[in-house]
Symmetry: none
Subunit: 197 residues, 4 copies
């Protein structure tokens, strides 16, 4: 059915090349609609109309709105939350949690929730989403912990994956729950659980 699209630059056989302008217009239109009306009311139809693009073009390069949102979102999100490096694990984690909470309160929250919903409903998409999430967000947490181990702040046998699960599990749980904030205090409680070396 759908398979890993070529990276836009690579592919070059005969035939008219893919239009960079359309590509960009689609991702821009997607973000606009997302911000205006949210993930649920986002529609391939609306994206195409807003981007001034044939509907087929969307199907040619992505496969669903989730794939488009994932790409539109990953373009902007990488730089949004800078990886902290204060020299102390605990304050790194606290700061990361706080920054994440701030960003998610703005436009990113609803978008992440949309992607999360899609991942919950579609195992194939979950794999793509998780892969990206892993490299863009989880890697940050694991770096913080790894640096701390090197510094001797944490025991060398610390289970990085487990701690990343805890960090993002809590974060996403609170994001979906919308009851308790994702803030500095939450980060502090988590950081206090970290073992001594």
């Amino acid at each position: 059915m759908w398979m890993e699209e070529p990276a836009l630059a690579e592919r070059q056989g005969p035939g008219r090349p893919r239009s960079q302008a359309s590509h960009d217009a689609i991702l821009d239109a997607t973000m606009e609609i997302l911000i205006e009306t949210g993930y649920r009311d986002l529609t391939l139809q609306k994206i195409a109309a807003r981007a001034g693009v044939g509907r087929q073009t969307l199907y040619r390069w992505w496969g669903s709105k989730a794939d488009i949102v994932l790409e539109a979102f990953s373009r902007r999100t990488a730089q949004e939350i800078p990886a902290p490096d204060t020299g102390r694990v605990r304050s790194d984690l606290v700061q990361l949690m706080e920054e994440s909470g701030k960003v998610l309160k703005k436009v990113s929250g609803p978008i992440v929730l949309g992607l999360l919903a899609e991942a919950a409903l579609d195992e194939a998409f979950a794999a793509k989403f998780w892969k990206l999430f892993q490299s863009q967000r989880r890697a940050v947490v694991k770096n913080i912990l790894a640096r701390a181990i090197k510094r001797g702040e944490l025991p060398p046998n610390l289970d990085l994956e487990f701690w990343a699960d805890l960090f993002f599990g809590g974060l996403l749980y609170r994001l979906v729950g919308r009851q308790t904030p994702i803030d500095r205090s939450f980060g502090e409680k988590l950081a206090k659980l970290l073992p001594r070396p």
Copy 2:
């Protein structure tokens, strides 16, 4: 739009009373379709057809497929995972995590994911879902911890909500991620973090 339906028993003026048979047929049909084709392909149309019920009846009692699934699911799920009580917090938590993992591997997993997706996309539904989840699942964890505090196994000022967040955050994160199992080992790692009194 839609507002809290009366509890079926209460309301009684003139007019034909609501049909308990239809009510049940709807919930049964919902579970059947959920198991056969999953949450995404579940449709009010299909539920009504399968249950032999007018489509209007669904709108009279519930407001969306999410509400129906929530009720259909809550009917069966309460008894599914018995609250453990071994006399030791840590083994209680481990056992609960293990049992939860087992249940979620069967039919419950996809259904919980469906409800989670809905909660992610719809704040109003999230409130309903969380309320139920709170009373049916979170309460179990908090009871385990509360009992342990009474026993002197845990410090009396332990933040129950925080620990519940950690437990279910990790659990749901792994459920959506579908990468790492929800098993005894995960419960053990979590239990080890509990503070001494």
Copy 3:
């Protein structure tokens, strides 16, 4: 697949009855578009839009634009060409040919051509079209001839079907050919071939 729709009045089971207003609006919209842009540019999409009607409604009751046009056309065409009765076969036929030619020069021509094209391409539709054509137009010619036989103007063993074929064959051939007119002179040449009693 598609089968003879009920006559709008007859059918009455449970469920909301068919909307007469929509039915009429559809046929009206169809005639309007036909006159404005012709058969080729007529589209189920446009009919629905113009009639202010859901697209599904068209599929529910007809099956294709050809079926709709056939009904829209048959509503208006029956009375358009009055059956002549001058007391003489030859002048009856001449007059009928002349009147037919006149009508086909106006809106009817393109519509008949559209239906003819559809009949040429679709055997199933051809049967429907021919049935209607038989009862509305061929019957007129055969009546004229039958009356003449009764009057003793024509031999009693005259092959009515063959003469009807000749009449309409010539007529439609000239309609499609658009080279030679369908006029009084054509009718006269045809009438002259009729055998003496």
Copy 4:
């Protein structure tokens, strides 16, 4: 828009010459698809794909599928029905009608119907089609009649065009109607109407 293409041989400037191989492949592919799926499902897209030809090439040489079919058909149809010459008008006509009926029962029928439909819907194409039809089929009938006049079998003032209209009008009418056969008996009835000299 589209205008009379040069005759393939004539034109010759600088640049790569047109490919005769492509030209033939297109016409062959067209006939194949016509036979397999009929005129309605014939598509420029499919022709190009089957012929292994760029889609643009079709537009360069012809303007529509009707034009392609017309050429593909005219290549093969000229020789299909030999002009009869028995020495007697009536048997000539009967034989021609019979042969035509036989050919139209095979592959030619649906194709002629397709072209007829196109002619009905598109006046510009009708002119092209009629011109070819005139020279390839009508000419045969008019020759038969002209020879008979020369022989003294028919009156010298016979209206050839009128009789050709009658012949092909009846033939095409029965072809579209699909109710009565195009056979020897039909030819005989027609021949009997011919006037004595």
